[in-house]
C-alpha cells in the first residue's frame, strides 16, 4: 500500500507538471512565447493560462506533500502493510472492470444495444451464476427497454456502430415501434416485465428441483 501511495503521488505530480506545461502553450497564430500567458495581462487581469497553471502548481505541491507523507509513513495508507489490491481486488478489475471496458469498446462495432446484451448475459450467467433462462431474458428485455426508452420515447439515438452501415435490424425495428402509439409502447414495456417475471419464476423452479 505504501509503494502504491508513493507511486500515485509521483504520477499526480507528473500530471500536474504536464498540465502546467500544456497550460503555458500559446496557439501558433498568436506568435507568443510559451508561458507568456500565465501571469497578469496589461489590464491587470490574469490571462488565459493563469488559472490552470496555478491550480496545477498547487496540485503539484500537494502531490509532493502526499509523497513525503508516504515516504515518512505518516498517512494511513502508507502505514498499512496490506497490498494495494489483494486477490479479490484484482479479480474485481479483471472480471468486472475489463468487461465494462469491452462494453464500451464493442459499442463502436456491434452497437450499444448488442454490447449491452452480451455484457448482461456474461454478468448474470457467468459471474452471477444465475439460471440460463433468467440471464437470457434479462439480456433480451433490458436492451429492448433501453431501445424503447432512448431511441423511441426520448428520440435520443444511442450509437449503432458498424451495424448501422448495412442496417437490416435497427431501421425496421425503429419503423415498427415508431408506428405504434403511446399506449402500445407502454404495453411493450409491460410485456418485457412479464417476460422477466416469468423467467425468474421458471429459473427458481429449476433451482428448487
Amino acid at each position: 500500500m505504501r509503494i502504491a501511495e508513493i507511486i500515485m503521488a509521483i504520477a499526480l505530480a507528473a500530471l500536474s507538471l504536464a498540465i502546467m506545461y500544456k497550460a503555458g502553450e500559446r496557439p501558433s497564430w498568436s506568435g507568443e512565447a510559451r508561458f507568456s500567458n500565465v501571469g497578469f495581462g496589461e489590464d491587470g487581469a490574469p490571462q488565459g493560462g493563469f488559472w490552470p497553471f496555478w491550480v496545477c502548481a498547487i496540485m503539484f505541491v500537494c502531490s509532493i506533500w502526499v509523497f513525503i507523507n508516504g515516504v515518512m509513513k505518516l498517512s494511513p495508507p502508507a502505514k498499512s502493510g496490506g497490498p494495494y489490491l489483494d486477490r479479490h481486488g484484482v479479480n474485481v478489475l479483471l472480471t468486472v472492470g475489463l468487461p465494462v471496458f469491452l462494453l464500451v469498446l464493442l459499442t463502436d462495432y456491434i452497437s450499444m444495444y448488442f454490447s449491452m446484451a452480451i455484457f448482461l448475459f456474461y454478468y448474470l450467467f457467468v459471474l452471477g451464476r444465475h439460471a440460463f433462462i433468467l440471464s437470457s431474458a434479462m439480456a433480451l428485455v433490458m436492451p429492448l427497454w433501453m431501445f424503447l426508452f432512448f431511441d423511441i420515447t426520448m428520440t435520443r439515438t444511442l450509437p449503432k456502430g458498424v451495424l448501422a452501415v448495412e442496417d437490416g435490424i435497427y431501421v425496421p425495428l425503429g419503423n415498427f415501434f415508431r408506428s405504434l402509439d403511446g399506449a402500445m409502447i407502454g404495453l411493450c414495456f409491460l410485456a418485457g416485465a412479464v417476460v422477466l417475471v416469468a423467467a425468474s419464476m421458471l429459473s427458481k423452479r429449476g433451482e428448487d428441483a
Binding site: M59, V66, P77, M142
Partner: protein, 526 residues
C-alpha cells in the same frame, strides 16, 4: 406573509396530478436506490439526470424535472435506513449512523420498531428543515442579490475551504481532488480571450470543458460499483421483520415517547450542518448521533438498540439534505455532491442558479419548494405502506443490480452528451476513482469543483480586472473599488473565514501535538 402565499401556490402546483405522479415515481425510485447497498442519492440522481429532458419534453414545465430529482433525493434518505437496519450494511453513507442502533434493534427482533422510528423521524426532520428552508431562503437570496464579483469569488473560496477545514479527510489529498475538478472545468477554450487551452493531444473531445455528468457518473456509477464489489465480500444475513398495522401503531407510540429528543436534535442540527458546503447528510447524521448520545439521560443504551439512536441520525440526514438545498438554490453553491448534480440539472434546463432565480423564476422556485413538503409526505406514506415490498426487493442479488447500473451509466452518458468520447472518459474516470479511493483520496471535492470551476475562474478574473490585479479586493474592506471611497465588508469577511478554515487543520496538528486529541471520522458522501 407574502412567502406563505407563494408557498401555498407552490404546494398547490406540486399537488397537480401530473406533478404528484412525478413526485411519487421519484420517491419510489429514491427509496429503492437508497435501500440498495452501494447506491445512494447521488448515484440515483446522477444516473437518472438524463431523464430530465424527457420529463421536460412531456410535461412542458421546468419545475417537473426538478421535482423528480428532488423526490429521488428525499426517497433515498428514507431508503438508506432500510438496509442499515435489515442487513446491517448502510444503504448509503448517509445511513451509516443508523446502523449503530438500528441493527441491534433488528437483532433483538424489533426490526419493525427501528423501521417505523426511522420513517417517522425522517418525516419530522424533513418537515422541520422545509420550514427552516422556506424561512431562510428568500432573505438569503435577497442579500445574495447584492453580491458582486469579489463576493461571489470569496463564497467559492469558502466552499472549497470548508472541504479542507471540515471535510475530515487527508488534507493534501482533498486539495488535489479539488484541483483536479477545477482543471477538468477549465479544459477547452479560455472564454475571455478566445484562445484554445488544455486541448490535450488535439482531441476534439477536449475542445470544451469536461461535462460534470461524465465525471459524476464515472465516479458514482462505475467507480462506486467497482468499489462496492471490492469491499463487500461474503453475503449478509437479513433480519426478519413482522409488519402489521397494529405493530406500526405501537412502534409509532414508542417513537413518540422515546425518540422525540433524538428527532429534535437531528432535525435542527442536521439542517445547519447540511448548509455547509463540505458537510452534507453523512457528517450531519454522525454529529447528531453523537450529540443525542451526549445529552441523553440513558447514554448506556446507545449502541444496544436505543430508539433515540435511530431517530437522531435519520431525522438529521433528511434535514441535512434540505439544508444542502439552501445554498444551492439561493447562492448557486451546492451543499453536497447530490445537490451538485441537481445544480447541473438546473443548468441543463437553462435556468441560471443563484439569487436571481428567486426573483426571475418564481414559477419554478416555489413549486419546487412546495414539492419538498409533498415528497416528504409521500415518502413517509410509501415507506410505511410498502415496507414488506422493500424487504422483498432487498433480496435482489447484487449480481443483477450491478450490471444494470453499468449499462445505465453507459447509456445515460451517451444520451446526455451524444459523444462516445465522453463515454470513454466516464469509464476512465470510474477506473481512476476506484484506484484513488483505495488510497483514501476523497472524490466529492472533485465533483463540486468541476461544477464551480468555471464560475470561480470567471469571478476571479473579473474581480482582478476591476482591482488592477490587486488581491486586496478580496481581503481588504477599505480597498477602493470604484474611487468612491466606500467600504465593502462582505467579501473580506467571507474570504478571511475561508483562510481560517484552510488553516484550521494546522491548528489541529498543533493541538494534537500538545494535547493528543482523537482523530475525527472521515467518511462522508451525502
Amino acid at each position: 406573509m407574502e412567502v406563505l402565499g407563494l408557498l401555498l401556490d407552490g404546494i398547490l402546483i406540486a399537488l397537480e396530478p401530473a406533478n404528484l405522479l412525478i413526485c411519487f415515481i421519484g420517491v419510489v425510485i429514491g427509496l429503492f436506490v437508497g435501500a440498495m447497498p452501494g447506491l445512494g442519492s447521488v448515484n440515483g440522481v446522477a444516473i437518472l439526470l438524463p431523464t430530465i429532458f424527457f420529463i421536460k419534453q412531456s410535461t412542458g414545465s421546468d419545475a417537473a424535472p426538478m421535482l423528480f430529482l428532488a423526490a429521488i433525493y428525499y426517497g433515498a434518505m428514507y431508503g438508506g435506513a432500510i438496509s442499515s437496519i435489515m442487513l446491517g450494511i448502510p444503504g448509503a453513507s448517509t445511513a451509516v449512523a443508523t446502523t449503530f442502533d438500528g441493527r441491534p434493534l433488528a437483532l433483538k427482533g424489533r426490526a419493525e420498531q427501528a423501521l417505523v422510528t426511522a420513517a417517522l423521524a425522517s418525516f419530522i426532520g424533513g418537515t422541520i428543515a422545509n420550514i427552516f428552508f422556506t424561512g431562510f431562503a428568500p432573505p438569503l437570496a435577497s442579500v445574495a442579490l447584492k453580491f458582486g464579483n469579489p463576493e461571489i469569488f470569496a463564497l467559492m473560496l469558502l466552499a472549497f475551504a470548508t472541504f479542507v477545514g471540515l471535510g475530515g479527510d487527508d488534507i493534501p489529498k482533498t486539495i488535489i481532488s479539488i484541483m483536479l475538478g477545477l482543471v477538468c472545468a477549465s479544459i477547452g477554450f479560455d472564454v475571455s480571450e478566445g484562445e484554445p487551452r488544455l486541448q490535450f493531444f488535439d482531441l476534439t473531445g477536449f475542445s470544451r470543458p469536461i461535462n460534470f455528468l461524465v465525471l459524476a457518473i464515472g465516479v458514482y456509477g462505475v467507480g462506486e460499483m467497482l468499489w462496492t464489489l471490492h469491499t463487500t465480500r461474503g453475503d449478509t444475513e437479513m433480519s426478519k421483520a413482522d409488519v402489521s398495522l397494529a405493530k406500526i401503531k405501537t412502534a409509532a407510540g414508542n417513537t413518540y415517547r422515546e425518540g422525540w429528543k433524538g428527532t429534535s436534535i437531528g432535525s435542527s442540527l442536521g439542517f445547519f450542518v447540511g448548509i455547509l458546503p463540505a458537510a452534507g447528510a453523512t457528517p450531519g447524521s454522525l454529529m447528531s448521533y453523537g450529540v443525542a448520545k451526549m445529552t441523553s439521560s440513558k447514554p448506556d443504551e446507545f449502541g444496544k438498540g436505543s430508539i433515540d439512536g435511530v431517530a437522531a441520525p435519520e431525522a438529521a440526514n433528511n434535514s441535512a439534505s434540505t439544508g444542502a438545498m439552501l445554498p444551492m438554490m439561493t447562492l448557486g453553491i451546492p451543499g453536497s455532491p447530490t445537490t451538485a448534480v441537481l445544480l447541473t440539472g438546473l443548468v441543463l434546463l437553462e435556468l441560471e442558479p443563484g439569487p436571481r432565480l428567486f426573483q426571475d423564476q418564481p414559477d419554478f422556485v416555489w413549486p419546487v419548494i412546495g414539492s419538498f413538503y409533498i415528497s416528504n409526505l409521500i415518502a413517509v406514506l410509501v415507506n410505511l405502506a410498502f415496507i414488506p415490498l422493500f424487504l422483498w426487493m432487498l433480496r435482489m442479488p447484487f449480481t443483477i443490480l450491478a450490471p444494470i447500473i453499468f449499462i445505465l451509466s453507459t447509456a445515460g452518458v451517451y444520451a446526455a452528451t451524444d459523444s462516445m468520447f465522453d463515454v470513454w472518459l466516464m469509464f476512465w474516470f470510474g477506473l481512476a476513482a476506484f484506484m484513488l479511493r483505495i488510497l483514501n483520496y476523497p472524490l466529492a471535492p472533485a465533483a463540486l469543483a468541476i461544477v464551480l470551476g468555471g464560475i470561480t475562474e470567471a469571478k476571479l478574473r473579473q474581480s482582478l480586472q476591476w482591482s488592477d490585479g490587486s488581491f486586496g479586493i478580496f481581503f481588504n474592506p477599505f480597498f477602493d473599488r470604484d474611487g468612491s471611497g466606500s467600504t465593502y465588508w462582505i467579501a473580506p469577511i467571507i474570504a478571511w473565514i475561508a483562510v481560517i478554515l484552510i488553516l484550521m487543520p494546522l491548528f489541529q496538528v498543533i493541538k494534537r501535538r500538545f494535547l493528543r486529541g482523537p482523530a475525527r471520522p472521515s467518511h462522508w458522501q451525502g
